[in-house]
């Protein structure tokens, strides 16, 4: 095997620009996941007869189907129903909604992880719902799940490569398209792979530190 360094230098700037898009996708997607997930978690928790069940099914269904297929569906089918969005927007929304089904569960575990005693103490003191959620449950519940959400952020960073399948020009897609116009995948794919590790490994190490810090201060 020979490694073509000249070739590598040629595509490196492009791949790095793709990395910027990957990061954008991740941050925007995560923002959607965090907001929608919280909404879903709270609605499910409120146990509103039909609506909560629909949300539960939403979580179940999104989790039971592949991201790739969800992307295809959104990208190829939604326009038939008059929903227009380019690949980037479609990709960000789909990956955000996909992850919202996970974050909803994380929020739920955070809420449920708050000791029963805290709910009971609040009730014994007759605290109103706004104080119960705003001061007692959410501050404790969300604190505990920050590291988990961090892990999902990293996971999404890696999963965003799948968006290349609907031609979102993120890092993977850049590597592939550079590879195909030069008929050589080895170098761009290897570099892209290493860049993913180079970012996600330190990031998860950081999260492990956070996790330990959170664990000890609790």
């Amino acid at each position: 095997m020979t490694w073509d360094f000249e070739y590598t230098l040629e595509f490196l700037p492009l791949v790095l620009r793709g990395l910027v898009v990957t990061v954008q996708v991740t941050l925007l997607g995560m923002a959607i996941a965090l907001v929608v997930g919280l909404f879903v978690a709270v609605v499910r928790r409120l146990k509103i007869p039909v609506i909560s069940q629909i949300f539960s099914f939403y979580v179940l269904f999104v989790r039971g189907t592949p991201l790739l297929v969800q992307l295809y569906v959104a990208y190829y089918i939604l326009p038939d129903f008059g929903i227009q969005a380019n690949a980037f927007v479609t990709g960000v929304i789909v990956i955000g909604l996909n992850y919202s089904s996970y974050t909803a569960e994380v929020y739920r575990s955070g809420i449920e992880g708050v000791a029963v005693g805290q709910w009971e103490a609040a009730k014994a003191l007759s605290l109103p719902p706004s104080r119960l959620w705003g001061q007692i449950i959410l501050p404790q519940g969300i604190r505990a799940i920050i590291p988990i959400l961090g892990n999902y952020l990293i996971q999404m960073f890696k999963d965003s490569a799948v968006l290349s399948a609907i031609t979102v020009v993120e890092m993977m897609q850049v590597a592939l398209s550079f590879g195909n116009s030069n008929y050589q995948y080895l170098e761009p794919l290897t570099v892209a792979g290493l860049l993913y590790v180079a970012i996600s490994y330190p990031a998860s190490a950081l999260i492990r530190v956070l996790e330990r810090r959170f664990a000890t201060t609790q």
């Binding site: 103490a121 009730k123 003191l125 007759s126 605290l127 104080r131 007692i136 404790q140 609790q218």
Partner: protein, 245 residues
């Protein structure tokens, strides 16, 4: 009043009354339903049927087979009841002072300054003036339980419920908490219901002791009688197991 968990009939046709200002200890073996009574009084659990009143106001009025819902009436009545839990259940992310003023300010609508003043008084009473700005995880178990007592008192409840307030504590720390409860019992006219395994203590502070087993009252009476001359075999064997070791 009755309560069952599935097939497990925890409380069976219970019927008893506590007079205003009375101090009552509830004793009995594990699983006999002691905690369940207190939790129903605190509305953390609902009875399957029966009526519960506090100071004349209805707290529960449940027909067999119906699942009761929280009413406004119930919420009002509940404010007269305070509870101290076995596991303290302080809010760990708030300071001691914030724990104590949280409910007076946000439930009773007391001005913050007034609530603070009262909280400091209460914390002095339980001997914790030095820890006002600390957070619960920095305190020992005994100190945490004393904060919990102060927090419950801050609502000026007419009835206080204690569920094994010392059983999560190290032996040496138990004394300080019992000291505070003893003080309360002798100096206030609050009604007190206490589940405890501290027999000597129960004997000392109670006006009445209720012995409980399998969801029914086995025996009740003044502490001297129950402890020195129990009339039921079940009480005798229970006391033997707990005391003579």
């Amino acid at each position: 009043m009755s309560k069952a968990w599935g097939e497990n009939h925890v409380l069976r046709g219970l019927d008893f009354e506590v007079r205003a200002g009375e101090k009552v200890s509830i004793i009995g073996p594990s699983g006999s339903g002691k905690t369940t009574i207190l939790r129903i009084l605190m509305t953390l659990e609902y009875p399957d049927e029966g009526i519960v009143t506090v100071g004349g106001d209805p707290l529960w009025d449940v027909k067999r087979g119906s699942k009761p819902r929280e009413t406004k009436q119930m919420r009002e009545t509940r404010k007269k009841v305070g509870m101290v839990f076995q596991q303290f259940n302080l809010f760990p992310h708030m300071t001691v002072l914030e724990n104590v003023i949280e409910a007076p300010v946000h439930v009773l609508g007391m001005p913050k300054a007034e609530a603070k003043e009262r909280a400091v008084e209460l914390l002095e009473m339980v001997g914790l003036q030095a820890h006002i700005g600390h957070r619960p995880p920095q305190l020992s178990g005994g100190q945490q339980q004393r904060v919990a007592i102060a927090r419950a008192l801050a609502m000026r409840p007419r009835v206080m419920l204690f569920d094994e307030p010392t059983s999560a504590l190290d032996p040496e720390l138990i004394g300080e908490v019992l000291g505070v409860i003893r003080e309360l019992a002798t100096t206030t006219d609050m009604t007190m219901l206490m589940v405890t395994h501290e027999m000597r203590f129960a004997q000392e502070i109670s006006d009445r002791v209720v012995m409980f087993d399998k969801g029914v009252v086995v025996e009740k009476g003044p502490p001297e009688e129950i402890f020195t001359n129990p009339s039921h075999e079940r009480t005798r064997s229970f006391l033997r197991a707990v005391l003579e070791r």
